[in-house]
């Protein structure tokens, strides 16, 4: 049984798309800018209107309250947005284990958002999402604006979460080496449609 199954997903700009992902699996998606990768993630998160059938653990998307769906299916935008002054304004629930996973102490909750480095910001944006313990992570180029050290740290953190919770991940990235490192299947988005890479292409990176 698949954790998420997507059938004939279409929006104004993309589709039809079929994709099923198992528990603990990571699927990579690459593709040029404007090919619709972000639109796909947004449609799965139910942030954009779309047609088609989406099921999470066998239950239809429409059977979920929107807020419940988006707690289970966490969309992480490329750039994080903050509205409060301090980090803690954006957290509700028990943040301790997740802050620790990301390498922060509880003190981080008192930090001013404006003073965060881009690496800290991205890690905290991920922590913000993990508190709700999503079972599907939709990552939109999560490390694109970071140096390789911060990127590695985030990779490790996300994969640890995945192991602990059995979560599935859709990982959008321009970096083919990153995708082949983290994912078991890689697709390329081309003019709104998904094409799976062969194992050969995968091995050649």
């Amino acid at each position: 049984m698949y954790l998420i199954s997507i059938k004939q997903l279409t929006t104004h700009h993309i589709g039809p798309i079929d994709l099923s992902i198992k528990k603990s699996e990571t699927v990579g998606i690459s593709g040029s800018s404007g090919s619709g990768k972000t639109l796909l993630l947004r449609a799965i998160a139910d942030l954009d209107p779309h047609n088609g059938e989406l099921q999470l653990s066998g239950k239809d998307q429409l059977a979920f309250e929107p807020s419940v769906w988006r707690s289970r299916v966490a969309y992480l935008a490329t750039e994080s947005h903050w509205w409060g002054e301090i980090v803690g304004d954006h957290f509700n629930g028990d943040s301790e284990p997740w802050l620790e996973l990301a390498g922060f102490s509880q003190e981080a909750l008192q930090w001013s958002v404006e003073r965060l480095s881009s690496g800290e910001k991205q890690r905290l944006a991920i922590v913000r999402q993990l508190i709700r313990q999503p079972i599907l992570l939709l990552l939109d180029e999560p490390t694109s604006s970071l140096d390789s050290k911060s990127a590695a740290r985030i990779e490790k953190m996300l994969l640890t979460y995945q192991q602990q919770m059995g979560a599935a991940i859709v990982w959008v990235s321009h970096h083919h080496d990153q995708l082949s490192r983290v994912s078991s299947r890689i697709f390329e988005m081309k003019s709104g449609k998904l094409q799976q890479w062969s194992t050969e292409e995968l091995n050649n990176g």
């Binding site: 929107p66 807020s67 707690s71 999402q129």
Partner: protein, 261 residues
């Protein structure tokens, strides 16, 4: 009461001419606008004066009702026209009009039936000016509130979506912007209540006093009007802004900015 002659009005227009001349001289480029707006205001007021004179002569409830409706519809149009970003389709107009209709009509009817209690209650001498005052002020509040809401939703769309993506409901994701917009709509009337009598003499009261009413009587009317305006504006702003805040989302709590121009 000292009646004004046409010559008196012409004399008062000297200041407008002076202003237009200064604007021309200093290249402020407002002279056309100054002259046009002044002329337009004078013509509109003269027209209204003639209409009111006729309506007073007839004193029919149907005529009062028709004029009231016309005033409400025009106020609704004006609200829509003042929006920088509008809801597309008829929705924006409908929202503002419904909000102003409910708030102004409710407060005006309440005042006519239970406070002023003139016989008949719908006499145009009371009904029309009262409704006019209420409409003018609620219209300001509603258009400010709606404008603030749509522009702040537009600016903060990424933040709203980030909150939605964290599993917040639409209501919770927009709450602070909605409350801020309601505050924005209420501020003018709250300010004018605070300044009333000390810094500025309200226009209505001044008019009554000039027309010969005893100052204390004029003040009582002014207090009533201020309270009614504050109540009507508050209700109208809350209704219009809350409805708009719902309208930017669809039934699946998705932000639908394409509904705003």
């Amino acid at each position: 009461m000292v009646n004004l002659t046409t010559l008196d009005l012409l004399l008062s227009s000297l200041f407008i001419l002076l202003l237009a001349f200064l604007s021309y001289r200093h290249r402020v480029k407002l002279e056309k606008k100054i002259l046009f707006s002044s002329l337009r205001a004078a013509l509109q007021l003269l027209f209204v004066g003639m209409v009111l004179q006729t309506v007073f002569n007839y004193n029919s409830i149907y005529l009062v009702a028709t004029i009231s409706m016309l005033m409400v519809l025009l106020a609704g149009y004006e609200i829509q026209a003042r929006q920088q970003r509008r809801f597309l389709g008829g929705w924006g107009y409908l929202n503002g009009t419904v909000a102003i209709f409910i708030s102004s009509m409710a407060t005006a009817l309440f005042a006519l039936l239970f406070i002023i209690e003139y016989d008949p209650w719908h006499h145009p001498q009371y009904a029309i000016p009262l409704l006019g005052m209420l409409l003018g002020n609620t219209m300001n509040g509603i258009s400010l509130g709606m404008d603030r809401l749509t522009s702040s939703v537009w600016q903060q769309r990424r933040v709203i979506e980030a909150r939605l993506a964290m599993g917040e409901s639409a209501d919770s994701a927009i709450r602070n912007l909605r409350d801020e917009a309601i505050r924005t709509g209420m501020i003018p009337i709250l300010n004018s209540m605070a300044a009333a009598g000390i810094i500025s003499l309200p226009g209505m009261m001044t008019g009554q006093i000039l027309a010969g009413a005893a100052p204390l009587e004029a003040v009582k009317y002014q207090i009533m009007i201020l309270f009614l305006i504050a109540g009507g504006t508050g209700l109208g702003v809350m209704a219009a802004v809350s409805l708009s805040a719902k309208r930017v989302f669809d039934s699946r709590d998705r932000l639908r900015l394409e509904r705003i121009s």
